[in-house]
């Protein structure tokens, strides 16, 4: 064996590989090959030395949105400031935050090969709340919402556990919240951890009754479809053109200085009344309140089609929404970077009453 033939094995030796005896014998006796090996080793060490200078000590914090179908937690301030009856407000909030009617859904017949079940959970007021649950996508198997049921407010979390032919197994945790609502009442996903899960087999096309201690049962229907509809497509108000008072934020992504810092994938929030705003919160980023009216201490931003642009503390922000945001160009933003999510959630969104946050009418004249 000569040096040219042995060279590749010299390289392999540096990687801790075994080499043929003939190559090993040659390298043992050949000063040129041993010099080559020393060079390879030295190069490796030099690369590692250089790499040690390249490593950052810590990665920039990023927030990873929890993959829930509907993320809705009510903001305490909203309850204190609502003019409309609180009970009705709940229906309103959930009507727009959770997923709505069946427009634009490609339905498939029951007993067919659809992979998504659209559950419709009835509530006392407003349209049923729609929860799309996938039997194939593990990130789309959970749905949580709060809605009025008779004289109570009921919160529930539905988990798709499995499928057997045309029926699905659902794990449901539900609990009653006291009425009337106090200012301190909060709706937290972690509430469900304290509730025992009950499992049900459900055949889409039929009606399922879920017993809830201390309340009327939840009733739900469902149907098979072939896909998860895009965020907002299940809303009753699914026109492309926003209404006069509407502020729509669908599946938003937030950029700070052109870097993505938060992604509320699948979250749908539509404020469509005066004195309502949309709130988005993300772990390690903070809470943003958006409104089409001036907010006390708020930053004035600009709407450009499906984007909201604003600046805060020397940073430029762009919120990208999946739909056109509003008819006008003006928007106000309150940013609380110190806001902490209380229940271990990564993200949430919602529509809230903001009357107390608005700049008084006299001040705007």
């Amino acid at each position: 064996m000569n040096c040219n033939e042995a060279a590749e094995f010299v390289s392999a030796l540096c990687d801790g590989e075994r080499i043929p005896p003939a190559a090993a014998a040659h390298v043992g006796e050949c000063e040129a090959c041993r010099a080559r090996m020393r060079e390879y080793i030295e190069m490796g060490a030099e690369m590692r030395r250089m790499a040690s200078l390249e490593f950052d000590e810590e990665a920039k914090p990023l927030a990873w949105a929890t993959k829930r179908n509907s993320i809705s937690t009510l903001w305490q301030k909203g309850w204190e400031t609502m003019r409309i009856p609180r009970f009705a407000f709940v229906a309103l909030v959930l009507g727009v935050v959770a997923l709505g009617s069946t427009l634009a859904v490609v339905k498939v017949r029951a007993h067919s090969e659809g992979s998504v079940v659209i559950l419709a959970v009835n509530q006392s007021a407003g349209e049923p709340i729609k929860c799309p649950l996938s039997t194939v996508n593990k990130n789309q198997t959970l749905c949580a919402a709060w809605s009025p049921q008779g004289k109570n407010m009921v919160g529930y979390e539905i988990n798709l556990l499995g499928r057997d032919g045309s029926r699905v197994q659902l794990g449901v945790r539900a609990r009653v919240y006291p009425l009337p609502m106090g200012a301190a009442t909060k709706y937290l996903f972690s509430d469900f951890a304290q509730v025992e899960q009950k499992d049900y087999w459900f055949e889409p096309g039929e009606t399922l009754h879920v017993d809830v201690a201390g309340s009327e049962p939840l009733t739900m229907t469902g149907e098979w479809t072939d896909h998860i509809p895009p965020p907002g497509a299940l809303n009753s108000n699914s026109k492309l053109d926003p209404g006069p008072l509407e502020l729509r934020i669908n599946s938003p992504v937030l950029l700070r200085d052109k870097k993505v810092i938060a992604d509320w994938e699948g979250a749908v929030s539509t404020a469509d009344e005066a004195n309502q705003g949309v709130v988005l919160a993300m772990k390690d980023v903070g809470r943003f309140t958006f409104a089409l009216q001036p907010l006390q201490g708020g930053i004035k931003g600009r709407i450009e089609g499906n984007r909201i642009l604003f600046e805060s503390e020397g940073h430029s922000y762009t919120l990208l929404s999946g739909v056109f945001v509003a008819r006008g160009e003006d928007i106000w933003i309150l940013y609380d970077p110190k806001f902490k999510l209380e229940d271990g959630s990564t993200a949430w969104n919602g529509v809230f009453g903001i009357r107390d946050l608005l700049v008084p009418a006299t001040a705007t004249n």
């Binding site: 060279a7 590749e8 390289s11 392999a12 540096c14 990687d15 590989e17 080559r36 060079e39 390879y40 190069m43 490796g44 030099e46 690369m47 590692r48 030395r49 250089m50 790499a51 200078l53 390249e54 490593f55 950052d56 000590e57 810590e58 990665a59 920039k60 990023l62 990873w64 949105a65 929890t66 993959k67 593990k138 990130n139 870097k259 993505v260 992604d263 994938e265 772990k283 990564t346």
Partner: protein, 176 residues
Amino acid sequence: MADDQEIWKKITQGDAQVFDAFYRETAPRLQAFLRQIVGSCEAAEDVAQETYIQIWKQPNGYQPERGSLRGYLYGIGRKRAADWWRKQTPSAEETEEKTEPSRAENSSVMGDALKRLPEEQRSLLWLREVEGQSYAELAAILDIPVGTVRSRLFAAREALRQVWQTGAQTSTRRSL
């Protein structure tokens, strides 16, 4: 960190806490690797971010029998870096090179030498020498047969040796 399979299972289940820990643990080294490919800190950070977002949103394709989760991460990162290059205009490439040298560049003959190698050789050497990836993992990351890894590594080492020696001699002459 916990076992790769366990971590992967939790990531596919959407466990943000586990994914965040994985991100914090691996991101600095991934960014250093990507800097070797794209040539600038800022672009490497962007590509790394896209890599993690891709894995978080579509966690599929990891096969434990083919190697470590870290190796899988580098494979995705390299593909994203290739996509990044495809999107660059010639003028943008020149700007990147000029405006943001890697941190150790000015003081490292090795940094200069590496830059003169083709991307695949640069990646191969970095993943082997710095990240300690096995031949099987390198094959998976670079999408080449395992049997080819040894010869490609040898070719890369030889190429680096030639460039490095030239660079070292140039430096010596300059300092005289």
